[in-house]
């Protein structure tokens, strides 16, 4: 029953989005034809009239936080109002999700998030107080390509070695930081390539402490997202990359083949594993405001200062500036993938 509701909501949300975001930036707004919703965006008055708040569901200092703070500078120029980053960490993003859901739908509060951990944890351990399918995506910002790697001194050179070891009954240790974190990605990977003897080692905080454990050889294999935070370990030889999970090779790691090139099993699923993040507005935010925010975001992503920063830090290659509508489609595909993995996730958690 409760599994059905999201479907209804997602459909209506999609309809709403396509109506709202059809005039995608930077083309001048034109009334979309043939939409079943009221086509003409109603003028909801002057906007923005006060500082815009970006909710970041993580503590200050992480990758999400850095992007949001850097993006806040050009956004401020675009919108003519201060743009403030508000960190609401905790509860596997659920605290932020609830706060966001309840916020005033006037466009002054937006969320910078990736909801992958949210709905995976929703499948396994249903939570109340928010409904990710009611969120209105403003724009896609970052699509983080995952990379599969083994430690630099690992006996495994290819996925075939790993699978052979798995078949021989060897346990393969993956590190994670919980159901609201990296666990779903690891489980999905193992399931897609057919690893049977995965061991999920939890208790980590994040990349920060998984990386040393991995280099020490405490773990056997890991799917790393985002790629940009791990390239330095590939260069130093601490990580031995097996493949990137994307349709094309990464510009920073041109020597690492893609899963598709290597003809890995379950490659479609693997390529959907990247974590897609973007700005969202709470449900019922007026369409004209969303359009304005969308345009501002897409322009901010092109800002020279931001672009330079993104290039210096390697963030640039993950950027996927995309209109809210297109991003919503991407989100739906993600949802489909994770839904099929519900049983595996439940098993991994318990």
């Amino acid at each position: 029953m409760s599994r059905l509701r999201p479907w209804v909501t997602v459909l209506s949300a999609m309809a709403l989005l396509s109506a709202a975001c059809a005039p995608s930036a930077p083309t001048p707004p034109a009334p979309p034809a043939g939409a079943s919703q009221p086509a003409q965006p109603v003028d909801s008055g002057p906007f923005p009239t006060k500082p815009i708040e970006i909710i970041v569901p993580f503590a200050p200092g992480g990758g999400y936080d850095a992007v949001a703070r850097q993006l806040a500078v050009p956004l401020q120029k675009e919108l003519g109002q201060p743009v403030v980053v508000k960190n609401v960490p905790g509860g596997g993003q659920r605290i932020a999700a609830r706060q966001f859901q309840q916020s005033e739908p006037d466009g002054h509060t937006i969320l910078y998030g990736s909801d992958t951990p949210l709905y995976t944890s929703t499948f396994v351990d249903p939570a109340e107080g928010f409904d990710i399918f009611s969120w209105q995506w403003i724009a896609g910002i970052r699509g983080q390509t995952p990379m599969v790697a083994v430690p630099g001194n690992s006996p495994y050179k290819t996925l075939e070695d790993v699978l052979a070891a798995d078949k021989a009954g060897k346990k393969l240790r993956f590190g994670h930081n919980g159901i609201g974190g990296f666990l779903p990605t690891q489980v999905a990977f193992a399931s897609a390539v057919g690893i049977k003897n995965g061991v999920w080692v939890g208790g980590f905080q994040g990349t920060a402490d998984i990386a040393p454990a991995f280099i020490r050889g405490d773990l056997d294999i890991e799917v790393w997202t985002p790629l940009s935070s791990t390239t330095k370990f590939v260069e130093s030889g601490d990580f031995r990359p097996l493949a990137v999970l994307d349709a094309k090779r990464s510009p920073t790691l041109p020597n690492v083949p893609t899963a598709r090139e290597l003809k890995w099993p379950g490659v479609e699923k693997l390529e959907a594993l990247g974590s897609q993040s973007g700005f969202a507005a709470p449900p019922k935010t007026p369409a004209d405001r969303i359009a304005k925010l969308e345009k501002a975001t897409l322009n901010a992503l092109k800002d020279p200062d931001f672009a330079k920063w993104a290039k210096d830090t390697g963030v640039a290659e993950d950027l996927i500036p995309s209109a809210g509508k297109d991003f919503g489609v991407l989100k739906k595909a993600e949802y489909e993938l994770w839904k099929t993995l519900t049983e595996e996730l439940k098993k991994a958690v318990n």
Partner: protein, 192 residues
């Protein structure tokens, strides 16, 4: 020790802790094996320790068995029974301080009226923040408190209140953090 156990604060706090430990011990029974290992490893021995403490409240001998004094004492054997002058001074200092602060606190030593007034005041402040936000609640609390407890003039109370809240408001402004505005002024009750 002339006081009865139930006249002492430590008796009642020990019981409260025992209730807490028992709650944890019982509610961890239903957890899976790994999850209940540590809670049980800690809570059951804790119950024993608290039991011993309660016993000690009734039987002073038990209590004194577990008291380890760090006060300087003369070494046994008799050759150095006298403490140095400095040690004597320090010993005196510690003992006077202990009399004032630690030691046995009896229930009747605690100014209950005052303490409960302060407790209620602080909780009320929390509720006020929830209802009316930090600015209003902070101002009101500071003023009423200083006026009521300190006997300050209204003008002085207002000055202190505005000073405190103003500083915090400026800081929040600087931090670009919005202080909770309170439910009366449009603040949403955050998820719990």
């Amino acid at each position: 020790m002339t006081s009865k156990p139930w006249q002492r604060v430590s008796f009642w706090v020990t019981i409260a802790l025992a209730v807490f430990a028992l709650t944890i011990a019982l509610s961890s029974l239903g957890l899976k094996r790994d999850a209940k290992a540590l809670p049980q490893l800690i809570s059951f021995p804790l119950l024993v320790v608290l039991g011993l403490l309660l016993l000690g409240e009734f039987v002073p001998r038990v209590q004194s068995f577990f008291v380890i004094s760090w006060l300087p004492t003369a070494t046994p054997g008799g050759e150095n029974l006298d403490l140095t002058e400095e040690q004597e001074l320090e010993r005196e200092l510690v003992e006077t301080e202990r009399e004032e602060t630690g030691g046995e606190v009896l229930l009747r030593d605690i100014p209950w009226r005052l303490v409960s007034l302060v407790f209620v005041g602080i909780v009320l402040y929390g509720v006020m923040v929830l209802a009316a936000g930090f600015i209003v609640a902070g101002l009101a609390f500071t003023m009423v408190f200083v006026k009521g407890f300190g006997g300050a003039t209204w003008r002085g109370a207002a000055l202190l209140g505005i000073g405190t809240v103003g500083t915090m408001y400026a800081l929040a402004l600087l931090l670009r953090a919005d202080l909770y505005p309170g439910m009366l002024f449009g603040g949403k009750l955050p998820p719990f």
